[in-house]
C-alpha cells in the first residue's frame, strides 16, 4: 500500500497560510523597529516549515523559492546581516509570492513564473552582496567582529552573558546534545567555552549515557537574555542554568572569569539597565508562545452538532422541570432541587459550547497593519495604526462577515479621513495620522470602533450633495445624525476625485447592509478637523438570539428584541383607517401603519379588534410599523435554526427555534414582514382601484 500524500495537502495549505499570516505579523513588527530575536526566529520557522512541507509534497517551485528566502533569513538570524526596511519589504513581498504560489498550487493553476524569477533574482542579489554592506550597519553586526577577538583585551566595552550550564544526568538520555547547544550559542556571538570535567568518574564507573560534564561560557555580543535562553529552551528543565550579564569586564574578570565578579560596582548599573529590557523580551517571547500553542483543529460541523445536542438537552431539562412542578411530597422537593442544579449546569455547558465557536477578533484585525502600511505608502500619508482589544471574542460566522466591512471602513479612513502630512502640520496636528481600532464587549454585544484623527466628515458638503441628488428636499433641515447617515445611501460619494482606493460611492451602503444582516448597527460620530469614528455594534453570536415570544391564536412567534421599539395597548382615538391604505395609528407625533400578523400569515387569532390585543412597535431599515398580536409571553434566548436546511427560505421568517415544550416556534424577520406587508397592501390597493 502506498501512502497517499494528497490527503495531507489541505492541512499543509491551511497551516501554511496561517504560518504566512504570523510571518507577516512578525515582519510588520520588525518594520516598526522592534528588533527581536524571537521575531526573526518566527519568520525563519515559517519559511523553514513551508520549505520542508513543499518539498515533501513535491511542490518544487515553492520549495525552491522558499529556500533562497530561508537562506537570507538564516544570515539575519545568525547576525551576519542587519534588518533593514528594504529587507523587510523584500520579505513581505516574498511572503505574498509564497502565498500566491501556494494558492496556485492548491488550485492547480499555473504559477506566475516571471514574478517568481524576478523576486528570486532580487533575493539572490541581496545574498550576493556583502553582508556588511547594508546601509546602516547594525550594532550587532558591528559588535560581532570586535567581540570575535577574545575577551582578553583589557577594557572590552562589549556587553555579554556569563553562562553556567550544568546538565542533569538525564540530558543525554533524552536525546539532547550539548554540542548542538554550544554550536548554536556561538552563532549568537563570540564564545569562550570552558569545560569542567572534574566530575567524570574513573573509567570503570563511567556510564556513557550519563552527562557528568559542565560548561562555563562567556558569550560576548549584543544579545538579549531571551535569545540566550531560547538556545537552552529544550533542556531548561534538565540542567542547572545560570545566565548573568557581564557588563564592563575588568581585566581580572576577563582573565579569570569567576562567578563572583558580579559584585564590582561598575557592573551594577549595567545589570539594572539590562534587566527591564531582558524581562520585556522574555514576556514577548512568552506571549508569542502562548498564542501559538494549546489548540486543536475541529471542524465547525462537529461543534454545531455539539451545540445541537446541548440545545436538545436544554429542552429536555425544561420538560423535566415542567413535569416535576406539580409533584408533591419530600421526594418531589429533592427532585426539584436536583433539577435546579441540572439547570445551572446546563446553562454553563451551553455557554461553554457557545464559546468554542468564538474566536478572537485579532483574526480580522491582523490584516490591518499590512493594509495601513501599504495604502499609506501608496497615498504618501503617514499613518500609525493602534489596535486595542484584539482578544475580544466573536462568533466565527460573525467574524467572517465583519472582515470586509471593516476593511472598507479602514480604507475610507486612510483615503478620506487622514490628511496629507503637510496639510496636517498646517492644521497644527502631528504629521502622522492615527487610525484606531477598538473592540470590546458591552452588554451582550460586541462593539468595534474604527476612528481616525483626520479631517472629519464635511457636514455641509454631504448635505449639499444629498440635495443635489434629491435625497433630501431643498428646505429640509436635518439633525447631525441623519446627515452622517446619508453617506450610507447607495451610490453616495462626496469625493471630488475618484481614486483607486475609494470614492466611487459603492461601499458604505454595502457596509451598512452587511452589518444589518448580521443583526448589528452602525453609528457615525465626527468632529470637523478632529476626526471621525464609526461604531459598529454586533451580536456576540448568530446562533442565539434574544427574542420576545408573542402569541397569535395557537401559534407562538419569536420577535428579535433588537427590532422592538416598544409595546403598547391601543386606545380607540389613536387608530384611524385610510381608504384603501389600511389602518394607521398615532404614536406621539408619528403615524404608523398597523400590520395584523394573523392577516398576513393567515392564522385564526383570539382577537381581531385592535383594542383587545397588543401592538408591538417594530423597526427595520428606518421604517416603523405596529405589529398586532394577541399576547406577549416571556422573553428568552433562543437557538436559531435555519429553515433552509430542510426546506427553503420564507420571506418574513428568519428561521425557527425550539420552545421549552419541544414545539417549533418561527422567528420573525422584521424587515421581511414589513416588505411582505407593503406588497400585500399594494396588491389590495390595486384590486380596489
Amino acid at each position: 500500500m502506498t501512502l497517499d500524500l494528497a490527503q495531507f495537502h489541505d492541512t499543509f495549505f491551511e497551516e501554511s497560510f496561517e504560518a504566512l499570516d504570523s510571518m507577516e505579523a512578525a515582519l510588520l513588527k520588525l518594520s516598526a523597529g522592534e528588533v527581536d530575536f524571537e521575531l526573526i526566529n518566527t519568520i525563519f520557522r515559517v519559511a523553514h516549515s513551508i520549505k520542508g512541507g513543499a518539498a515533501t509534497f513535491g511542490f518544487t517551485d515553492v520549495a525552491g523559492f522558499t529556500h533562497v528566502a530561508e537562506t537570507l533569513l538564516d544570515q539575519i538570524r545568525a547576525g551576519k546581516r542587519q534588518v533593514t526596511p528594504d529587507l523587510v519589504d523584500l520579505f513581505l513581498r516574498s511572503g505574498d509570492l509564497m502565498r500566491g504560489m501556494l494558492v496556485a498550487t492548491k488550485d492547480k493553476q499555473p504559477l506566475d513564473k516571471a514574478r517568481v524569477a524576478a523576486l528570486h533574482g532580487e533575493i539572490e542579489a541581496v545574498l550576493a552582496s556583502e553582508p556588511g554592506s547594508s546601509a546602516a550597519p547594525a550594532p550587532a553586526a558591528a559588535a560581532a567582529p570586535v567581540a570575535a577577538k577574545p575577551a582578553a583585551s583589557a577594557v572590552t566595552q562589549q556587553p555579554g552573558w556569563k553562562i553556567s550550564f550544568v546538565p542533569g544526568p538525564q540530558l543525554l538520555r533524552h536525546g539532547n546534545d550539548p554540542l548542538r547547544i554550544l554550536r548554536e550559542l556561538s552563532t549568537l556571538g563570540a564564545c569562550v567555552v570552558r569545560v569542567d570535567a572534574m566530575k567524570i568518574p574513573p573509567l570503570s564507573d563511567l556510564d556513557a549515557e550519563e552527562c557528568k560534564m559542565s560548561w562555563n561560557i562567556d558569550l560576548s555580543g549584543d544579545v538579549t537574555e531571551a535569545a540566550v535562553r531560547a538556545v537552552f529552551e529544550w533542556v531548561e528543565g534538565e540542567c542547572d542554568l545560570r545566565i548573568q550579564p557581564i557588563g564592563v569586564a575588568t581585566p581580572v574578570a576577563a582573565a579569570a572569569p569567576a562567578a563572583g565578579t558580579a559584585a564590582t560596582p561598575v557592573q551594577v548599573p549595567a545589570a539594572i539597565a539590562a534587566a527591564p529590557a531582558a524581562s520585556r523580551a522574555v514576556e514577548a517571547a512568552a506571549e508569542a508562545r502562548g498564542g501559538e500553542g494549546g489548540s486543536i483543529r475541529v471542524s465547525i460541523e462537529k461543534i454545531d452538532e455539539l451545540l445541537n445536542s446541548v440545545g436538545e438537552l436544554v429542552i429536555t431539562q425544561s420538560v423535566l422541570s415542567q413535569l416535576a412542578a406539580p409533584l408533591e411530597g419530600r421526594d418531589a422537593d429533592e427532585l426539584r432541587n436536583a433539577l435546579v442544579q441540572l439547570e445551572r449546569h446546563m446553562r454553563s455547558l451551553q455557554e461553554s459550547v457557545m464559546r468554542v465557536r468564538m474566536l478572537p477578533i485579532s483574526f480580522v484585525f491582523n490584516r490591518f497593519p499590512r493594509l495601513v502600511r501599504d495604502l499609506g505608502q501608496r497615498l504618501g500619508k503617514k499613518i500609525e495604526l493602534r489596535m486595542n482589544g484584539d482578544t475580544t471574542e466573536l462568533d466565527k460566522t460573525v467574524l467572517e462577515k465583519i472582515g470586509d466591512p471593516l476593511v472598507h471602513l479602514v480604507r475610507n479612513s486612510i483615503d478620506h479621513g487622514i490628511e496629507m502630512p503637510d496639510a496636517r502640520v498646517a492644521n497644527g496636528k502631528s504629521a502622522s495620522g492615527t487610525i484606531e481600532l477598538n473592540a470590546y464587549h458591552k452588554g451582550g454585544s460586541v462593539v468595534v470602533e474604527v476612528s481616525d484623527d483626520g479631517g472629519g466628515l464635511k457636514k455641509d458638503k454631504i448635505l449639499a450633495k444629498a440635495r443635489e441628488r434629491g435625497l433630501v428636499a431643498a428646505d429640509e433641515e436635518l439633525s447631525e445624525d441623519r446627515i452622517f447617515n446619508l453617506i450610507f445611501a447607495p451610490g453616495f460619494s462626496t469625493a471630488d476625485v475618484v481614486s483607486d482606493v475609494s470614492g466611487r460611492g459603492v461601499g458604505m451602503d454595502v457596509v451598512k447592509r452587511n452589518i444589518n444582516e448580521l443583526g448589528g448597527h452602525v453609528q457615525i460620530y465626527s468632529t470637523p478637523g478632529k476626526g471621525s469614528m464609526v461604531r459598529i455594534r454586533l451580536p456576540l453570536t448568530l446562533a442565539i438570539l434574544d427574542g420576545q415570544l408573542a402569541r397569535v391564536g395557537n401559534e407562538v412567534y419569536v420577535v428579535p428584541i433588537v427590532s422592538i421599539v416598544e409595546t403598547m395597548q391601543v386606545r380607540k382615538e389613536m387608530v384611524s383607517s385610510i381608504a384603501n391604505q389600511g389602518e394607521v395609528f398615532r404614536l406621539r407625533d408619528e403615524y404608523l401603519p398597523v400590520v395584523r400578523l394573523y392577516d398576513l400569515f393567515g392564522i385564526k387569532p383570539d382577537h381581531t379588534d385592535l383594542l383587545n390585543g397588543l401592538l408591538m412597535i417594530v423597526e427595520a431599515d428606518g421604517k416603523r410599523v405596529g405589529l398586532f398580536v394577541d399576547e406577549l409571553m416571556s422573553q428568552q434566548q433562543v437557538v436559531i435554526k435555519s429553515l433552509e436546511t430542510n426546506f427553503r427560505p420564507v420571506t418574513g421568517l428568519a428561521g425557527a427555534t425550539m420552545l421549552g415544550d419541544g414545539r417549533v416556534a418561527l422567528i420573525l424577520d422584521v424587515p421581511g414582514v414589513i416588505t411582505r406587508f407593503q406588497q400585500a397592501s399594494r396588491d389590495a390597493a390595486q384590486r380596489a382601484a
Partner: protein
C-alpha cells in the same frame, strides 16, 4: 436468505411499503430515516396547503408533507394512529404523513414494471414503477423526484 445477502444482491431492492387512501405505496428503504407517530406541527405562513408545517426532530426543523393533499385524495384526520415516515434525501430531511406502514418487501428488478404513460396531463415523473409481489401491486415512488416536485427548493447534492 438473510438481509445482508439480500442487500449484497444488486438485482434486488428493498422497499418500505405504506398505505395511503386505500392504495399501497413503496419507497426505497435506504431513504427512510425513521418512522414516528404524529405530533403537532407549526404551520409555515404562505406555504402550499400540502405542507402541514415543521416539527422539531431532535433539534432539527423538519417539514412535514401530507401526501393525501399533495395527491388530491380525500383528507383524513390526524390522530394517534397517523404515522410519519422521515425520509432522508440528499442532505435534506422531510417527513411524509401516511395512513399506516405495512411492510418491508424485497423486489427483484424483473418484478418492477415501468409506469405506463397516463396521458400528458398526469404527472408520473415521481413514480419509478409498479412492483408486484404475492399478486398485490405497489406504487413505487422516487423519493428524490417527489421531493423535487414537492417544491421544497432544490435538493442539496448527495453527500
Amino acid at each position: 436468505m438473510n438481509v445482508t445477502s439480500l442487500a449484497a444482491n444488486a438485482d434486488t431492492q428493498q422497499f418500505l411499503t405504506f398505505k395511503l387512501a386505500g392504495e399501497e405505496y413503496g419507497v426505497g428503504i435506504l431513504s427512510v430515516q425513521e418512522i414516528r407517530g404524529w405530533s403537532a406541527v407549526t404551520a409555515i405562513p404562505h406555504s402550499p396547503n400540502w405542507l402541514l408545517g415543521v416539527i422539531n426532530l431532535r433539534g432539527a426543523v423538519v417539514p412535514i408533507i401530507d401526501l393525501r393533499i399533495k395527491f388530491n385524495f380525500a383528507k383524513a384526520d390526524y390522530n394517534e394512529f397517523t404515522v410519519v415516515i422521515i425520509l432522508n434525501v440528499g442532505a435534506r430531511v422531510t417527513g411524509i404523513v401516511v395512513d399506516g406502514v405495512s411492510d418491508v418487501i424485497t423486489l427483484a428488478d424483473e418484478q418492477i414494471k415501468p409506469a405506463p404513460s397516463l396521458g400528458s396531463n398526469t404527472d408520473t415523473s415521481h413514480i419509478i414503477g409498479f412492483g408486484t409481489l404475492d399478486e398485490r401491486m405497489r406504487i413505487l415512488m422516487d423519493v428524490e423526484k417527489l421531493m423535487a416536485s414537492a417544491d421544497l427548493g432544490s435538493i442539496k447534492s448527495l453527500q
